[in-house]
Amino acid sequence: MIYNSETSSIRKERKVPVKIAHRSADISSLKEKARKVRVEILKMLAEAGSGHTGGSLSAADVVTALYFYKMRHDPKDPAWPRRDRFILSKGHAAPLLYTVLGLTGYYDMAIMKQLRKVGCALQGHPSSKLLGGVEVSTGSLGQGLSIANGIALGLRLDKSPARVYCLLGDGETQEGQVWEAAMSASHYLLDNLCAIIDANELQIDGHCNDVMKIEPIFDKWKAFGWHVFDIDGHDMEAIVGALDEAERIKGKPSVILARTVKGKGVSLFEGKAEYHGIAPTAEELAVALRELGE
């Protein structure tokens, strides 16, 4: 597989002791990968007949940038101690995580057909007991950032250069635990941690600010002591830039507010709360794949 050679070269770079060197980002290649990620997400959801379409598509660009560019990881050695960690706090976006893990070479893409089937490793929400590459089981919202903090504290005790990334939904920040964790990360000066908010403005019952106002989200994170990046979450150059810059912020945790569109990439689903938890039908899939250039 193409990505094996890439990841092994990342691994060599990782051993540079002072400054960890990265490949320069190939933006057009990352965009193509994000397109492919969307295609695979839609195929697996249509096959399963249920699952979370909107939130998987909205975060696709950010997670593609993490797994194909930013994170140092080894698909052939998911437990490599010096790997960067990704915690999917919004566990509903499981199809997105499964797709990037598959496309980066953690397992064969044929496994995607098992999503949500009895006895499969690809549970409706990620299970770390069943699937390698998944750091921890998630699905009950609001818990991932605390876990990410704990990993970041542990890595710091071990003087590990590894970093921790945590993806949350904007609706998810209605959970009180998120703010407990926001306080802790700032209190413990976790600069090896970068949270990303998939700010698609929608949750299952409607617009976030109608259901339970979350704005001013930028000011809130700022007030909690975080370095805040506010970017277009579908602009690959902006995503790569923020992820790189976050690594240079010292003495405080960083959060990237990725302003996104729920269902991004497929006009049928874009900006529609009703596609939060509905999989595409066969007809919708055909339309969507055409739109994505398949």
Binding site: G144, L157, A181
Partner: protein, 329 residues
Amino acid sequence: MGGSDRKESTPPATTDFCGQAVATRDAYGAALVELGRRNPQVVVLDADLSGSTKTVKFAKAFPKRFFNMGISEQDLIGTAGGLALAGKIPFASTFAVFETGRAWDQIRQTVCYSDLNVKLVASHSGITVGEDGASHQALEDIALMRVLPHMTVIVPSDGFETYQVINAVAEHRGPVYVRLGRAKVPAVMPPDYRFQMGKAHVFARGRDVAIVAVGIMVSEALQAREMLKKEGIDAGVMNMSTIKPLDTAALDEAAKNSRLIVTAEEHSIIGGLGGAVAEHLSETTPVLLRRVGIRDAFGCSGPPQELLRLYGLTASDIVQTVKDSLAPR
């Protein structure tokens, strides 16, 4: 069994609390410091109650490996989970009512579903919290923890047992809940006692009744045995300190050899030790069973000893239960 075994299994200790009357939380605090000295992977978290749970001793000895999470139990458990994922052995402590109640979903979703190596050691369980009253008295924590897959549940009876339990759970891979108390308790376990996870300690077998107890009720059960002896009733006593996994062999044996089983716990009779024993014996060895414990009620403020009498958790209550149950109908 002999003193040499203990020396081999654990390095020299300042004290192992053998024969000492001490609160189980005090034995925990001391055991943690020793563990920290021996194992650099041990880390400790608390939620603003380190002075009460006694984790403050570890905090002073190893400040870099201690994390006070403030008054935020959900974050406490999640952070402990993350530290376990980073290869640490986290001990997360606060009062039992907050640890198991406020953070139950975090324990379920993050710790147990992912089977993380987190040690939940909670103090201030049961009615003997005393004057602080019902809001601070966990009477349902065993039930809440016992129902979770992957979870081990342990209730030590005295300082000596607590000391051994803390060392044992550090070696065990997987989530564990250890229930400790606030009040000083008498030493009950004999000097040659060696805690084994999942193994009950049988003090004595009894033809008429077998009393199965945990925590502070072990001491009451032993007193009840002496009181019953004077009335010609032969009572056995066992300490079922590991409630999950339950020592089913010891229970089956007791049920076959005694006319009556009485459970005794400083916890609700619903879902705790009594519940666990009833569930098991009714499927394997049906026998007359009575449960001594809190009868579907909240606690209240008052001195611990008075509360134990008020809620029927004394040796006399066990004796009365035995006599009522064995009386011809």
